[in-house]
Amino acid sequence: MTVAAQTIAVIDYGMGNLRSVSKALEHVAGGKPVVVTADPAVVAAAERVVFPGQGAMPDCMAELDARGLRAAVLAAAKDKPFLGICVGEQMLFERSDEGNVPALGVFAGQVKRFPDEKMHLPTGERLKVPHMGWNEVRQTPHALWNGIADGARFYFVHSYFVEPADPALVTGSCTYGVPFTCAVGRDNIFAVQFHPEKSARDGLQLLKNFVEWRP
């Protein structure tokens, strides 16, 4: 299959709402083609790659392998502009509490669940899990935050979050009962726990920054 120049590939391994991700990318891509694909050759030929994810981590890993996409994802993460979203961020780490399955191990660190004993406010109000809704993201300077105010709110829906072994990976953090990492980056990789495709104007700005990013 021929792949047009400047293609943005959204990796399809059967998990999550890829239509939302691809439509939001198209909205900001300035005419660059966006393809949703399960074909390793298309991923390999793309200019940049988006790795979304939704649902339970063990199911995501199983589906990724069932479709023979693990090698293509790992190769893309080596040198292409690469954006992980939600479970797509978590899968870049070594292991998750969720199902205790090994993940891709691109980054050293674990994926943890919000600790029950910390899920309340000083007022005593209970904090619900999943962490669902719009929360403030504190930024560490990075090209993908261009044009987005520090502390801007993004839409989250998750019960687990990443704990990188190397604090230098952290590009964004958030607080819900506990402080947690909600964005990581290194070289050509940027990955977020929240959903930029569902985060209105600031989310679209982040996707636009990714589409134009030259790491």
């Binding site: 939302s20 939001a24 109000e125 619900k128 999943p130 809704g133 709110r153 829906v157 985060s199 209105a200």
Partner: protein, 252 residues
Amino acid sequence: MLAKRIIPCLDVTAGRVVKGTNFVGLRDAGDPIEIARRYNEQGADEVTFLDITASSDQRDIILHIIEACAEQVFIPLTVGGGVRKVEDVRRLLNAGADKVSMNTAAVLNPDLIFDASSKVGSQCIVVAIDAKQVAPGQWHVFTHGGRNDTGLDAIEWAKKVAALGAGEILLTSMDRDGTKNGFDLALTRGVSDAVSIPVIASGGVGNLQHLADGVSEGRADAVLAASIFHFGEYTVRQAKEYMAARGIEVRL
């Protein structure tokens, strides 16, 4: 800090948004996509579509609406109404819904909650509970638009759906729906305190104080309203400014 969400709800039938009182006297409120876009511009945190189409041959209309909406409105979309099988959930998600709400089918077949959340993830599954007071401090779950008393205790049912894998509860007071007298705050608080998943309060909003009360007294994680927004009484932005002035964390 996590913001409390304001969710405009659009009742859709035959491709149009409608609004009535207690399911009768429907008034046309406009084109669903146009309205969803307007709410997005006003700062809505999510939009919920409720398909109130009675006949199954018109069900596919909602899929086209969701598809078109997901191309233009980049905030979470929840869709409910007529969801009976895991396959229905999948079709709505594939069309662009982020969450799917189930009601009567979940009461008739609670395994549906478990099966659907196992397949697509808890975060996509909302269980809608229509509750009606039957005695002081006691509410039953009703189905079929409030006509059918299931005999289930609303708070016990809320705990059960959470245990089965629901990611969120959309709680509607049948006593208050359409009355503009405010949420049933005792019901809202009872359910919200009983479960560890988010609860959306619904039914009865007539002014902005009702929305604030739902959060501060009802302890809801999100508040849903329809008619106060559809007919231009208030914008979503005004609602948020009101809540912020009352010390409630919102996304402005």
